[in-house]
């Protein structure tokens, strides 16, 4: 009974940060990698299609320099877009919460825009903005923007009407209500969107690079695929995964430091 309670508590808000990477996980990971290696050798699969873990590790080692430079390019694009998108989203969310007209006209339109397969627009962005930094940053910003906008509007409107009415009665202005009630209440919502937006911005930057770029992880993916250098391709995918996980983990860490109180249940995912 008691163990079950403890478990329920530990997993009750199953963010990535709350799940400990224990011994069983490491064991499974090792088993999977070994099984992958054995399976590749045993089945005699064409190494061109499925390389073994050793070949992938070798490709990782051989191309450390290239991988690092290109990762930095992608991270820079994603980070720039991430910051821009979040700032714009917070500004819009504040405007939507305070203006009935803006909210009822513009917010539904933005929700519909959100349904547009963003990444499908990447080819047009190439037409608009060329092959430089701009289309990647814009796409990453747009992805982060939509995620944060929805969550911030939810978060800023989450406090009780009674609390806000009380502050109103005490003669608090809009700015004071925003600072003392709405922003603190929206913090957990904001961090949810930060965690999602961090990996989302990475995906967007990689997708934009895939279309047309001279550097970056998306460019490497395309490059390795064209050369049919499958071990290198897998190595790039591994790097993409690690960067995505690190981005998510970083935001989870910041959340842990900033949100010290028990956060309310937020629809994660």
């Amino acid at each position: 009974m008691s163990t079950e309670r403890v478990e329920a508590g530990a997993l009750s808000s199953t963010g990535l940060a709350r799940v400990r990477l224990g011994l069983p996980t490491v064991l499974v990971l090792v088993l999977l990698v070994v099984g992958w290696g054995v399976a590749v050798v045993a089945t005699g699969v064409n190494e061109l299609a499925v390389p073994g873990p050793v070949a992938v590790a070798q490709a990782l080692g051989d191309n450390v320099g290239d991988l690092t430079t290109n990762t930095l390019v992608t991270v820079q694009e994603a980070a720039l877009g991430f910051v821009l998108g979040n700032v714009a989203a917070i500004a819009c969310a504040v405007a939507f919460v305070h203006s009935d007209l803006l909210r009822t006209t513009a917010y539904p339109v933005l929700l519909v825009v959100q349904a547009i397969p963003l990444v499908a627009i990447a080819p047009i962005l190439g037409v608009w903005l060329g092959a430089g930094l701009a289309p990647k940053v814009l796409l990453a910003a747009f992805l982060a923007y939509t995620v944060t906008l929805v969550n911030m509007v939810k978060g800023l409107t989450s406090p009780d009407t009674e609390t806000i009415e009380l502050l109103h009665t005490l003669g608090a202005g809009r700015w004071q209500v925003l600072r003392t009630v709405r922003f603190p209440a929206s913090t957990p919502f904001f961090f949810t969107s930060l965690k999602l937006g961090a990996s989302g911005a990475m995906v967007a930057a990689i997708a934009a690079e895939y279309i047309g770029a001279l550097s970056g992880l998306g460019h490497l993916l395309q490059f390795a695929r064209m050369r049919l250098d499958t071990p290198y391709l897998w190595a790039v995918v591994v790097v993409c995964g690690v960067v995505g996980i690190v981005a998510y983990g970083l935001m989870a860490l910041v959340e842990k430091i900033v949100v010290r109180w028990q956060p309310p249940a937020v629809d994660e995912v």
Partner: protein, 292 residues
């Protein structure tokens, strides 16, 4: 003596009659502003493109996009159906697999502690990188596209279902235990009901992301589908057709969202559903505030 009774009886009738039009008016009012927003955007788009402020190769006129619908109708339907096939198959496979895994993780501790953190970590993997590998392994047919779409739905639903299955009220669980209910009974009478709203929330998310993922997958591999159409028409500068394809993809997403919303109302009637437009709820609060 009889008079008050009659009064009491006749009282509700006029209220009912009055309620109808005011409800309709309220509904119209909630629809009016979003419609204004959409129409305003379209008009702005038309004006900006027709006067040449925005060049035709950057953004075609909305009128041209509508014409593209007429001109390329059959093509749009064919590619739209291909995307729908990929998105729907992936959605179903991913969701079913996620529910099975979530059940396994709920009842087997070794499985959960071994695999769940790994799967959570994999959630942050850019699927666009994964599909590049899948194309090499599985070829350029439907399968890599369906697998990627299924993966997206899988991760979304897995996290929510694991949480949902454990969200059952501890007191109710203990009560069931006291009533000597076995595991299967607890699952069907308590846990599945507790998990249903979580499942619905994840279905809503994956309904839209499935279409998007299918489109992106088609854009990287394959010779049919809306993603493919977007790319090809982009490269050949048939921009009205490209925008028409994007519009179809967006429409598919919205229809999928509406269908899941419907399912949500039917399957979990006890959950107060969120309105499609979050603003409606907010403006109700605002109106109450204004009155106070």
């Amino acid at each position: 003596m009889t008079v008050p009774v009659q009064e009491r009886r006749s009282a509700p009738a006029p209220v009912l009659v009055e309620a109808e039009p005011s409800k309709l008016a309220a509904r119209l009012r909630t629809v009016r502003n979003p419609l204004l927003g959409v129409v305003g955007l379209l008009v702005l788009w038309q004006v900006v493109t027709a006067t040449g402020i925005v060049q035709f190769f950057v953004l075609p006129q909305p009128v041209e996009v509508v014409q593209a619908f007429g001109q390329y109708g059959p093509q749009l339907v064919r590619h739209g159906l291909a995307t729908l096939t990929v998105a729907f198959t992936g959605f179903v496979i991913g969701t079913v697999a996620a529910c099975a895994c979530a059940l396994a993780f709920t009842y087997s501790r070794p499985l959960r502690s071994g695999f769940y953190p790994l799967l959570l970590a994999m959630r942050a993997m850019p699927l666009i990188a994964v599909i590049t590998i899948l194309v090499v392994v599985l070829g350029t047919g439907y399968s890599p596209r369906i697998v990627v779409t299924a993966l997206g739905a899988f991760f979304t639903t897995l996290v929510n279902m694991v949480r949902g299955l454990r969200s059952a009220d501890g007191v109710v669980e203990e009560l069931m235990h006291t009533l000597s209910a076995n595991g299967v009974q607890r699952l069907f009478k308590v846990r599945l009901f507790a998990a249903a709203p979580y499942l619905m929330a994840s279905l809503r998310i994956s309904a839209s992301s499935c279409v998007i993922e299918a489109t992106v997958a088609e854009w990287i591999t394959g010779n049919v589908g809306l993603g493919y159409l977007v790319q090809v028409s982009g490269y050949t500068f048939q921009l009205p057709l490209m925008w028409a394809a994007i519009a179809v993809a967006a429409a598919l997403t919205l229809i999928a969202l509406a269908l899941v919303g419907l399912l949500e109302r039917v399957a979990t009637p006890w959950v107060p559903h969120e309105p499609a437009v979050a603003g409606v709820q907010v403006s109700k609060l605002a109106r109450r505030k204004a009155r106070a």
